[in-house]
Symmetry: none
Subunit: 209 residues, 4 copies
DNA sequence: GATGAATGAGAATTCATTCAT
DNA sequence: AATGAATGAATTCTCATTCAT
């Protein structure tokens, strides 16, 4: 089963077609779920014929892959943009910036993100796990440069725990508790989870607030 | 679309048939995923005819619902069994018991659990979110009885944060980092995340370890 | 690609279904050719649903295979029936019996036979070449028992030449010169080709006719 | 459905394009078979656009027709070239020349020849049967000029029998027994079949060999 | 109650052909 | 003339569901 795009659109017209197809795929995937996402329907929503769809994507899977690729790159791009130059920032600020960036990244297209995450194991969307891997490495790099912040000696496990925790809280909040996100309460709580885990912002710190 | 079982099996033989069907559904679901789980195949694996399957379950969805129901009840049952009489236990012990119980519950059938979790939004398996709701209430009840443990005044949010965090760490570990589970390292780390978030086990506490 | 039947029909009803499907396949194949033989059309002609067709034959190819199998067995059966006890017959009679049997076999279903022969290399219908192989062996066995009849020392090549010649003349006559078949002229000519090649029925023999 | 070329290429460039298309068609036909010979693929292999292809050939069938036409003409051309001035040659030499010429004609492009022969009835390629008709006429003309050679009074039938026999033996040998062709054994055998059928080269002739 | 044959709508995919650029 | 993007009917095959036996 091919999962790589069939050909690169060269003309402006075909570029627009490919964009329309990817956008339609995302919309249909969100609305109907993977099982009910039919290529004919995607084509119809995109306003092109099935034939055109298959001219650029050799299979339904390739379509999903391309959407995941595009979404993952948008998210990682936003993260990378925000996370520069935190090396010297105080840890409270670094953590808050990371969490804010993560939330923004999740808000790019929350429903699409969720659908794609569901498919990670079902279809094998490595693109999506790479977001997490990138985040884990980011955290690991930061913690490695500040050994004193780490309560546990196991750097890798701690990084994974932090990434997983932040990711899960944001992901679930986006889906189940959007009100917590909009008023900023959640950001505070996630910061608290992270900083306290790192030994910062203990009762003493909090009291001084 | 009906999603409730068609009739209650009264005779012993019927009970065995239903059990075989549910077990077969779980196995096929794990092996092939929801999309490729066909009722004909389930019937064959269960050793009954499709006709018999439809005698007890009016649709494919009803089948999945019943499996989710059974699995959720097993998990909640195990949790309920373990969590009795923690009201007076010291917080460290309560947290550890909770986390241990959660891990055990996740290890009942990790792959089935994961498949079902994937389907929560796709098919609308409220049974699975009820596990989380039950856990959240459990936490909320415990924290409500010990207001001094809470660093945040928002009891509901804190409970949700804790449940989500513990659930995510265990779930992802079961799938991605099984080695962290088997040697007990993860239990320690999750305890640390929870207790520090609750203001217990700060640096000072840890140092004394 | 599976080419073997999916399941054996056990009940009388399904046996009739399978028969209807095979017969319809043969008719559509003859009428429309392989490329235009669609499974939906076969099902319609057979008076069953596509689903039923696919219950017994996993692919279009499997369908053709089964038809070829059935046809080849009918032909070989007829040959075997006719060709017994020629060991002691005079060569003229043996040759004529063989040719007559071959003609009868070709007349079972000439158009189907032709379509299937066309597909031998295209689809790989070994069943059909096996008819030729069986015929070649028959000839080889007969010639081996009468070394004096053979003008060439190379038994295998001579057998292949004879089988190919007889087969081609009958096959083409059935399709292009049916009138030669009906009045028996062709049988005489094919006998002449064979017997003269074998050194029998030279001018002298003929003159005495 | 049009089957005649759309326009005659007058310019040199057009001629080259048409040639490239025909050659590509032949190659794809041999490699993939008729059903999988797509016009898009032919165009790609020919190095032109589909649009250009359809400028010269109004349909897929027209493409195949043109290829058959070209191939048949090449074969008939080679035959005609070789067969001149056999009127006075001894029969043994005439037969051998004919068979040699036929073999050479079959070796021009054996796989293409076979693919086209398969399509004769499927698509109706009269061009290919015309090769046989030409050969039959050639034989008939020769035999008519030498009535004494004929064992049968029916000239037409005898010619058809000879043409069919020689054609089949060569055709099948090219496909199934190429080793018989390369070492010349087959030529001898085919000569034997023909000459003995014609009453020449009886035992007596052979003995003197 | 049980069986499993039958159904047919619907999904993925291909490819001959057209036509705007 | 040439290009190649676009079309969409047609094809193969699946599977949830029904119902005669």
């Amino acid at each position: 089963m091919h999962t790589t795009p069939r050909k690169q659109p060269t003309q402006a017209r075909s570029k627009a077609t490919v964009d329309a197809i990817l956008e339609a795929t995302a919309r249909v995937l969100v609305a109907d779920g993977y099982a009910k996402t039919s290529t004919n329907r995607v084509a119809k929503v995109a306003g092109v014929s099935v034939g055109s769809l298959y001219q650029y994507f050799p299979s339904k899977e390739a379509l999903i892959y391309a959407v995941a690729e595009r979404h993952a790159q948008t998210m990682v791009g936003l993260l990378a943009e925000t996370m520069t130059d935190l090396a010297d920032a105080p840890i409270e600020q670094a953590v808050r910036t990371y969490i804010d960036a993560m939330i923004q990244a999740h808000l790019i297209d929350p429903e699409l993100h969720h659908r794609l995450m569901q498919l990670v194991f079902q279809v094998g969307l490595s693109q999506m796990t790479e977001i997490d891997d990138a985040a884990t490495e980011l955290i690991e790099g930061y913690l490695a440069s500040r050994p004193e912040t780490l309560a546990t000696p196991d750097l890798k496990t701690a990084s994974w725990v932090l990434m997983t925790t932040v990711e899960a809280l944001i992901h679930m909040a986006v889906l189940q508790r959007p009100e917590l996100l909009s008023d900023g309460r959640l950001t505070d709580e996630i910061c608290a989870v992270v900083l306290r885990y790192l030994g910062v912002d203990c009762r003493s710190a909090r009291r001084g607030k």
